[in-house]
């Protein structure tokens, strides 16, 4: 037998990636070697998630599948070399580099290009399309540069009110630009959604601050007198100021290679293929958006994946055929929930429509049913697409019970639980059925969402089916008798959130009371997991000093001595510097304390000063000095509010639009000492330039000229996250009320050591659910939350000052109970860059043998 045959794939997009993955997965005998010729200079990436690039994801985050695929010896990926010609007689393709590749079979996966309508000025700098990572990166760069140059907010216009146009508008909005969508048609997303849905969608889009004009045909882009885009002109003569224009008016198949090679193309372009994805030349296939299959090109990834799977199957002698496209779509725009699936326009003869609309809430839902009102044919969900994941797999099947029940808001008890048949598709991106997910749980031992995703690939592309995957998994686990334990530890079977409620309602005040009432064993005395958790719960349900009575025994050493334990057993000390604002006298006082106690000093990321190397017995002496100088505890040791970072704001900055420092100080003094499931950090930026990096915080506030935008769920660390928009243009009073409620809702319901980002992912309804609770009081608890925060603010006291005033509490800080004057002899320091640092084990060993190593206790004099 000869060596493997050669498959050449033209195009390096998502469908090409899937084809290679599918073929290498199944071609275990290695009958095909594959060369992928990609025009873009990178590996295939997730174009569907392009918009998430603005939410802080990097090109690497968008990488698809397992990178090891490209290390396979049978796979060659040539990047940055576009194919320029196909010679069907010689069976070769030629690339821009001049290289020629012979093929046994050729797959065209060239995708589409963004169509720019004919208009004057379309080639001006500042006109962008929205198709590739490079497009998106260039758009971001341009907007950022404008923001630095121009005094007014950047105005962006998006041509096209379809799926992509709305995502582009969302991206502009996320960049801090004012976006307006210009839609030629009568309503938004007119290819997927009917007029009623389009109207509801327009209200939702307006609500997040994006303007919409329908029946607006752009005829011309005018140049700004300083160059680049200045304004756009519409067919009716209206002119709109615009600093940047994004064209998202549709796509056209990139079929130029096929045309030049004499292959048949469809009436609206695209390589004509049969149901096996093969063109009129049996050695040439086309897949994805460039293929004209069953008479049309389809601009969605799921049908493209299906074509890739069919082609892989056919190349290996299989008999798969294209079943027809699943054109279900879901808009991926924060705060705007839209889904459309099946026969959304009720074109099936005799089809019935059931519509439920709530214009106040911005909800429009429609189900399309067969003439007997039983079989689901399609639907449109705007404003609340929570039913999408469970309804879409029911397409073409009979719905149990009254169909209208599926349209009522969640929690009104209407919709019956759907028991999906095994063959119902759950993840259309990756073609995963309900049965495959059940199998992964029952047979493959996948007992958490990550394992099920890894095993089945369900939910790994667009993610819209994840709620359903989670539900299916939970149902199967329940049947298996596997309980997904949310128990805090061996002493409590309750989760932290359940325990919080139990303690709050019961009004318990001590650990003994809590363990006797809610513990697994009344004799249990807790552990290092539940004791700090109970201490944290009691701190907000029954506020009191950390060292009061039995509560002292619950604290981790950091909270117990109100300092941060370091690797050698010494502690670090951080006084509060609200908003990062400090007087010269304050700085001098801190400097003198550090100098007198020989402490190593370092500026923290939270705009304050950390002093390291304090012995436990020195803490009260250090704090007496700090309190006398007007400082208070910075709670750097606590699972509690850390800092509110700020930029200098409008008082000094040429660009600032609000006084960010004043707000940061106000917020820091309001929430100081608030104990929570994990540390909480806030940030306040005085303008859209975001110098305080507020979107990297649990709560980030960014000034607008109308008020404050508040973002939630950001963090740095191991899994960095950007905060997402919770509410816009709030005045200071509404802002504080919103943050009050957000923080306490988090404090009440998060898991132990769960920061706000993962909490928002897991809490009922996600970010929208959080918004409903804190903005619209969906749970009716806001009065309670407001009262609880008022009590916190009222009862706050500096816990270090209170400790210094209480000799009983000070007894805890002795080095040795029988020798309180003797410092810990194990501590040893060496000088480095003019300060002290802990000696390494080698340095200690050398000193012990009398070698000339400078080792001393922590009062080491290092400054001459």
């Amino acid at each position: 037998m000869d060596g493997p045959r050669h498959l050449v794939v033209v195009g390096g997009g998502m469908v090409a990636q899937r084809l290679v993955e599918a073929l290498r997965d199944r071609d275990t005998a290695g009958t095909w070697r594959i060369t992928v010729l990609a025009e873009e200079p990178r590996r295939p990436y997730d174009r569907v998630a392009l918009t998430s690039f603005f939410a802080g994801r990097t090109p690497d985050d968008l990488a698809l599948g397992d990178a090891a695929l490209w290390d396979d010896p049978l796979v060659t990926l040539v990047r940055g070399d576009a194919v320029t010609a196909v010679d069907r007689q010689a069976r070769t393709v030629t690339a821009a580099s001049g290289r020629t590749y012979p093929y046994d079979h050729l797959v065209l996966a060239t995708g589409s290009y963004a169509w720019v309508p004919p208009m004057e000025g379309a080639d001006l700098p500042g006109v962008f399309v929205y198709r590739t990572l490079d497009d998106v990166a260039a758009l971001r760069g341009y907007v950022t540069r404008l923001q630095e140059d121009r005094a007014h907010p950047v105005r962006g216009v998006v041509l096209g009110g379809g799926l992509l146009g709305l995502e582009a508008a969302g991206a502009l909005d996320a960049l801090g630009a004012r976006a307006t969508v210009l839609q030629v048609d009568t309503h938004l997303m007119s290819a997927q959604v009917d007029l009623g849905g389009g109207e509801a969608l327009r209200r939702l889009i307006n609500r997040i601050g994006i303007g919409v004009r329908t029946q607006a045909m752009t005829t011309r882009v005018h140049e700004h007198r300083r160059g680049g885009v200045g304004r756009v002109e519409l067919a009716d003569g209206t002119r709109l100021d615009a600093d940047v224009v994004v064209v998202a008016a549709g796509v056209r198949p990139r079929d130029e290679l096929a045309r030049a090679a004499g292959l048949a193309v469809g009436p609206r372009g695209g390589v004509v293929v049969d149901d096996t994805c093969v063109s009129e030349d049996p050695d040439v296939s086309a897949v994805g958006e460039v293929a004209c299959i069953q008479g049309a090109c389809i601009g969605l990834v799921a049908p493209g994946y299906t074509m890739a799977e069919i082609t892989a199957d056919r190349l290996l002698g299989g008999s798969a055929t294209f079943p027809g496209a699943d054109t279900a779509t879901k808009l991926k725009l924060a705060g705007v929930d839209v889904a459309s699936f099946g026969d959304a326009f009720a074109r099936t003869p005799g089809a019935l429509e059931i519509v439920w609309a709530d214009p106040v809430a911005g909800v429009y839902k429609k189900l399309v049913l067969s003439d007997d009102a039983r079989t689901l044919l399609g639907g449109v969900l705007v404003g609340d697409a929570s039913a999408y994941a469970s309804l879409r797999p029911m397409l073409g099947r009979e719905l149990p019970g009254d169909p209208s029940a599926f349209l009522l808001p969640e929690g009104t008890g209407g919709a019956p639980d759907l028991e999906l048949p095994d063959d119902a598709g759950v993840c259309s991106c990756n073609n995963v059925s309900a049965g495959a997910i059940r199998h992964a749980v029952t047979e493959e031992g996948c007992h958490d969402l990550g394992a099920v995703k890894g095993c089945t690939r369900a939910g790994t592309s667009c993610g819209s089916c994840l709620p359903l995957v989670k539900k299916l998994m939970a149902t199967e686990l329940e049947k298996l008798g596997v309980t997904v334990s949310t128990a805090l530890c061996e002493h409590f079977a309750l989760s932290r959130a359940q325990l919080y409620d139990a303690v709050r309602v019961a009004g318990a005040r001590t650990f003994t009371e809590v363990v006797e009432r809610f513990g697994t064993r009344a004799a249990g005395r807790g552990c290092d997991i539940c004791k700090p958790a109970v201490a944290s719960i009691l701190a907000t349900t029954a506020p009191g000093h950390v060292l009061d009575g039995e509560r002292a025994a619950l604290q981790d050493t950091n909270d117990h001595v109100m300092a941060n334990l370091q690797k050698d057993g010494s502690y670090s000390v951080v006084p509060r510097i609200p908003g990062g604002e400090v007087t010269p006298e304050g700085l001098i006082a801190i400097g003198e304390v550090a100098k007198d106690f020989g402490l190593y000093t370092k500026i923290t990321g939270g705009q304050r000063i950390d002093m390291f190397g304090a012995r436990i017995d020195q803490l009260p002496l250090i704090w007496q000095r700090l309190v006398d100088a007007g400082f208070e505890s910075g709670h750097a040791y606590g699972k509690s509010l850390r800092t509110v970072k700020s930029c200098v704001g409008s008082t000094w900055c040429r660009f600032g639009v609000q006084d960010s420092v004043a707000l940061a100080v106000l917020l820091e003094l309001r929430y100081r000492g608030l104990r929570s499931p994990h540390k909480i950090k806030l940030g306040v930026s005085g303008c859209a330039r975001e110098c305080a990096e507020a979107r990297g915080k649990d709560v980030g506030v960014i000034a607008t000229d109308k008020g404050w935008n508040v973002y939630v769920g950001g963090n740095g660390g191991f899994t960095p996250r950007h905060a997402r928009l919770l509410a816009e243009d709030l005045d200071t009073e509404a802002l504080i009320r919103t943050i009050d409620r957000f923080l306490l809702y988090y404090v009440r319901t998060a898991d132990r050591l769960q920061r706000t980002a993962p909490w928002i992912e897991e809490v009922e309804g996600g970010l929208d659910g959080v918004r409903a609770v804190v903005m619209d009081d969906a749970l009716g608890i806001c009065g309670d939350l407001d009262a609880q925060m008022a009590q916190h603010v009222e009862e706050y006291e500096d816990e270090w000052r209170a400790t210094l005033d209480d000799p009983e509490k000070l007894r805890r800080f002795a080095s040795f109970v029988n020798a309180p004057e003797v410092p810990d002899p194990s501590l040893a320091y060496v000088p480095e860059r003019g300060q002290a640092r802990p000696a390494t084990p080698d340095e200690r060993a050398a000193a012990a043998t009398g070698a000339p190593v400078l080792v001393a206790g922590s009062t080491l004099e290092v400054r001459s």
């Binding site: 025994a553 001595v561 057993g569 436990i616 805890r812």
Partner: protein, 146 residues
């Protein structure tokens, strides 16, 4: 006079312990530890000992040195209990990397996925403790080999 927990099985060859008064029971908070300096061995070298007062006023002593971090910190750990073979065992968790130790025997019950530092085993040394008329006394072995 109350004598609590003098649970030290002394070999006949080892001299009887010298009971050293270190503090008053009232100096100890329930379910917290303190560090004490106790002479150890024939040369009277001072050893750091961690003393813990349990909720039932028993006092137990283990080494202050944490074998997993090489720092002298165990007295600052959280005191709790763990069900071991049906019995409620008093424990302390290291404040550094959260290893859990049986306070009665010093045995490491949970290494939290870590190894002790070179030259140390995972388990802790223990000391006998008794409370006499409200005074806490530690069994200091000032005589024979340790």
């Amino acid at each position: 006079m109350t004598t609590l927990d003098t649970d030290t099985t002394l070999d006949a060859a080892v001299p009887a312990p010298t009971w050293l008064a270190v503090c008053r029971l009232d100096d100890l908070a329930r379910e917290r530890g303190v560090a004490a300096l106790v002479p150890d061995g024939p040369h009277g070298r001072l050893e750091q000992v961690a003393l813990f007062r349990l909720v039932d006023d028993r006092v137990l002593a283990v080494q202050q040195h944490d074998p997993f971090s090489d720092a002298y910190v165990l007295a600052r750990g959280i005191v709790g209990s763990r069900a071991v073979d049906g019995a409620e065992v008093p424990t302390v968790a290291s404040p550094m990397y959260k290893q859990v130790f049986d306070l009665r025997t010093g045995v490491c019950l949970d290494a939290a996925g870590k190894q002790p530092v070179v030259g140390h085993g995972p388990d802790l040394r223990t000391w006998g403790v008794r409370v006499v008329d409200g005074t806490v006394e530690v069994a200091a072995s000032t005589g024979g080999a340790s």
